[in-house]
C-alpha cells in the first residue's frame, strides 16, 4: 500500500496534467474557430468558382490545357497534408496510414512514387521510412493563406506538365463534423472533365454567356486556379480537422484525469482512515495497559 504522501503527490501531478489538457482544449477550440472562419470566408469563392468552371466545362477539350492530359501512369506523386503538431489523438496516424497504404499499393503495381509532405507530422513519419520524399513544407499549417497553397500547387502542376509525374493525388482530412474527421484520397491531376461539371452544370448550361476571351482560353487559364483552390481547401479542411481532433482528444484526457483523481482520492482517504484507526488502536491499547 502506497503511503499517504505518495498518493498526495500523485494527485497533485494528475491535477497539473489536467490543467494542461484543459488549457490545450481551450486553445484548440479558439484555433478551430479561426480555421472555421477561414473556411467560411473561402466558401463563397470556392462555390462560385466551381459554378463558373462547371458552366465552362461544356467547352472543355483535352487539348485546352496540359493539366488535362491523361498519360500512361509510370510515376505518381502524392501530396500528404497533416498537422504540424501532435496530441490530437489518432488524427495524424490515420492520415499517415492512408498515405503509406496508398504508396505501397501503387508501388506494388510497379509505379514509381514520390511524396510531398505538408505538415511536420507527415514528414517526420515518412523520413524514417523508405519513401522517396521530394519536398516537405512545415510550419505552414498554422498561419497559411492562399499564397502558400499556390506555391505548392504550382510546384505540383509544373512537375506534372514537365512529365515527371503522370498523376498527382492528395491525402488530407475531410471535416465532416466536430466529432468525425476522415482521411480522404483524391486525384488532383490530371483534372477530369466529369469532376468539373459537378452541381454547377445544370445551372450554367441554362445561361448563354458572352465570353471574353473565348471560353476555351478562359477555361485553360482558370484550370491552374482550380488546382490552387483544391490544394487550399485541402489545407483548410485538414487544419480545421486537426483542431477538432485535438479538442476531442484533450476533452477525453481531461475526463480521464478527473476519473484518476477520483480513484486516487478514494485511495488517499482510505489510507488516511486506516492510519487514524491504527493510531487510535495504539492509544487505546496503551491506555488499557496503563490501567492494569
Amino acid at each position: 500500500m502506497a503511503t499517504l504522501k505518495d498518493v498526495l503527490r500523485k494527485i497533485g501531478a494528475v491535477k497539473k496534467t489536467q490543467q494542461i489538457t484543459k488549457a490545450m482544449n481551450m486553445v484548440a477550440a479558439a484555433k478551430l474557430r479561426g480555421a472555421q472562419a477561414k473556411m467560411e470566408n473561402f466558401r463563397p469563392y470556392a462555390g462560385k468558382f466551381a459554378e463558373v468552371i462547371g458552366s465552362l466545362s461544356a467547352h472543355l477539350n483535352v487539348e485546352a490545357s496540359p493539366l488535362l492530359e491523361q498519360r500512361e501512369v509510370k510515376n505518381i506523386e502524392l501530396l500528404l497534408v497533416t498537422a504540424d503538431r501532435g496530441l490530437c489523438g489518432s488524427f495524424n496516424g490515420n492520415l499517415n496510414n492512408v498515405a503509406e497504404k496508398f504508396l505501397r499499393a501503387k508501388g506494388a503495381e510497379g509505379v514509381g512514387t514520390s511524396l510531398v509532405c505538408l505538415g511536420r507530422k507527415g514528414r517526420d513519419y515518412f523520413r524514417r521510412r523508405e519513401t522517396n520524399m521530394r519536398a516537405s513544407h512545415i510550419d505552414v499549417m498554422g498561419r497559411f493563406d492562399m499564397s502558400n497553397a499556390i506555391t505548392i500547387a504550382q510546384d505540383l502542376a509544373s512537375r506534372f506538365i514537365g512529365g515527371e509525374s503522370d498523376e498527382v493525388y492528395v491525402v488530407s482530412a475531410h471535416f465532416i463534423s466536430m466529432a468525425i474527421q476522415r482521411p480522404v484520397t483524391r486525384k488532383l491531376l490530371p483534372i477530369s472533365p466529369e469532376e468539373l461539371g459537378g452541381p454547377g452544370e445544370t445551372a450554367g448550361a441554362a445561361r448563354e454567356y458572352l465570353y471574353e476571351p473565348s471560353p476555351e482560353q478562359l477555361i485553360s487559364s482558370l484550370l491552374p486556379t482550380h488546382v490552387n483552390v483544391q490544394v487550399y481547401s485541402a489545407m483548410l479542411e485538414t487544419s480545421a480537422s486537426e483542431h477538432a481532433a485535438r479538442m476531442t482528444a484533450m476533452d477525453n484526457a481531461s475526463r480521464n484525469c478527473k476519473d484518476l483523481i477520483r480513484s486516487l482520492s478514494l485511495t488517499y482517504n482510505k489510507a488516511r482512515q486506516a492510519a487514524i484507526t491504527r493510531e487510535l488502536m495504539d492509544i487505546v491499547g496503551g491506555a488499557e495497559a496503563l490501567k492494569k
Binding site: P44, Y45, M146, Y209, L210, Y211, P213
Partner: protein, 138 residues
C-alpha cells in the same frame, strides 16, 4: 427590372465588396469594360488594375488582381486572388514593394543576379497600381 447592380468582389480570404451599385468599371482581359444593371450574361478574365464603382453620387475605387468576373443581369461577381479598397491599401508596404522590385530589375539589367524578371515586373506593377489607387482615397 432592377436599377441596381449587386456587386461582389470575393477573394479566397474574404469578401472585399458586397453592396448595391449603379455602375461598375473593371479591367477586363481585353481592356476596361463597364457594366450597368441588366447587363447581358458575361464572363471575362480580369487582369490587374483599378475597379471603379458608383454608389449614389460617389465613386469608389479598389484594386483587383488577376481572376475573373461573372455578370448576370443584376449581379456582378468578381473572383480575384486579391483585392483592396482604396482606403485599405497599405501605402508603406506598397512603397517598399516598389523599391524592392525596382532594385531587382536594376540588378537584372546590370546582370548581377539571375532572377525571375517576370515576377519582379509583376510585383512592380502591383505596387504601382496600389499606390495609384491609394492616391484616389485622398
Amino acid at each position: 427590372m432592377a436599377d441596381k447592380l449587386m456587386l461582389e468582389v470575393i477573394t479566397p480570404s474574404r469578401a472585399v465588396v458586397r453592396e448595391e451599385v449603379e455602375m461598375v468599371v473593371a479591367p477586363g482581359e481585353w481592356g476596361e469594360f463597364g457594366a450597368l444593371p441588366n447587363h447581358a450574361a458575361y464572363l471575362t478574365a480580369i487582369k490587374l488594375g483599378e475597379l471603379r464603382y458608383k454608389v449614389g453620387n460617389k465613386t469608389e475605387y479598389a484594386i483587383v488582381s488577376g481572376g475573373f468576373a461573372e455578370i448576370v443581369a443584376d449581379r456582378a461577381t468578381f473572383l480575384v486572388t486579391s483585392a483592396e479598397k482604396s482606403h485599405e491599401v497599405d501605402i508603406a508596404r506598397a512603397l517598399k514593394a516598389k523599391e524592392r522590385a525596382e532594385q531587382r530589375l536594376q540588378a537584372v539589367a546590370a546582370k548581377r543576379e539571375a532572377i525571375d524578371v517576370a515576377r519582379a515586373q509583376a510585383a512592380l506593377q502591383r505596387a504601382l497600381w496600389r499606390l495609384k489607387i491609394a492616391e484616389r482615397a485622398k
